[in-house]
Subunit: 206 residues, 2 copies
């Protein structure tokens, strides 16, 4: 691996583990066993590292949020959620210190908000597709509140899980997060799909 990529890789690990505000460029250089000068040769400051990592997160998540007009039932939504949770988990330092990072890095703020809006559109798209198929039964207001709640849970599940379990030494559990989002959709599903979802999701979270 090139030094530049090693710096990015190690920064991501340290940020995810200790929180971005608690990690300095000196600690990153130290962890890599390179001189601070060598690090500064590749990145002038921490802000440039964050920017590069955010760009990489952005391209991953944007690919996922590019959902088709129509989905093939609730399984598609499930898979979508699982992949989104996985991507967020990979770059969880952004989400764990979200308000803090967006306050300090002006340039990231509008980009993150665009991602939030795309998450909302993707959720609306998928729910509306289920409505058209007669699988999901909800009026406009219900649908809007549901999608907002879905996006909030998608955005904060990993922090919530960290506060309750991971800080105590337990493993991160994204399946439970996916389950919690699906549980918000469940009451609006047609009886048949609702029962199916209940059975499968109990197995999924073990």
């Amino acid at each position: 691996m090139k030094t530049r990529d090693r710096i990015l890789h190690t920064s991501l690990q340290l940020f995810n583990e200790h929180g971005e505000p608690n990690v300095t460029t000196l600690q990153i250089a130290d962890e890599l066993d390179i001189s601070p000068g060598n690090l500064y040769y590749h990145f002038k400051n921490k802000s440039e590292i964050i920017d590069e990592l955010f760009t990489s997160f952005e391209s991953h998540i944007n690919n996922l949020l590019d959902v088709p007009e129509d989905i093939a039932g609730i399984e598609d939504q499930w898979l979508f959620l699982h992949l989104v949770f996985e991507t967020i988990a990979q770059y969880r330092f952004i989400y764990q210190d979200l308000v803090n990072i967006l306050s300090r890095y002006d340039k990231i703020q509008p980009r993150f908000k665009r991602i939030l809006n795309r998450k909302l559109s993707a959720s609306r798209n998928m729910c509306q597709s289920l409505v058209r198929q007669g699988i999901l039964l909800a009026n406009e207001d219900d649908l809007e509140a549901l999608c907002q709640n879905m996006v909030l849970t998608i955005t904060y599940w990993i922090s919530f899980d960290k506060v309750r379990n991971v800080l105590n030494g337990q493993e991160m559990d994204i399946s439970r997060g996916v389950y919690q989002v699906l549980a918000q959709i469940a009451p609006f599903l047609r009886e048949e799909e609702r029962r199916q979802l209940q059975m499968v999701s109990q197995a999924y979270i073990g």
Copy 2:
């Protein structure tokens, strides 16, 4: 106001506005126009200020979470949520940098988790009371997932609102947060209460 109280008051304001990790004791002293020595006379370090503010938050929220065995319909739940959101808003610095603060202040971690558990119990209590009254129709699994989602929304609404609106200069909107929690309960309500809630909540969020 005594100097000690003025320090606490100003710290709370600065933490809420700029985020606790971004505020130093020097800035607090500066804002109060007192010498750092004077501040250190009252509080040895920032950690002691945080501890005192957390204790005050803890006593406020614990009073609220002491809910009765039975509640008088959905209005009681509404009022409860509103008061909880108000208290969290007052001490929002804890919630905005939650993972960060809990990672750095070991002593607060178990105390915060106790509050989370009490939020969960209070939500369960109220929902079960509505189930007993025949107002809320849900099985055990539904109820558990619902209460977890309620607590997640209660915990992160203010951060979510900040990221989307407050950082852009808009006012904080806790009514919308209360509405989002109630929207999670709504699909489980009996037809009559559900319609009522829908009407009243549209007026409430304007």
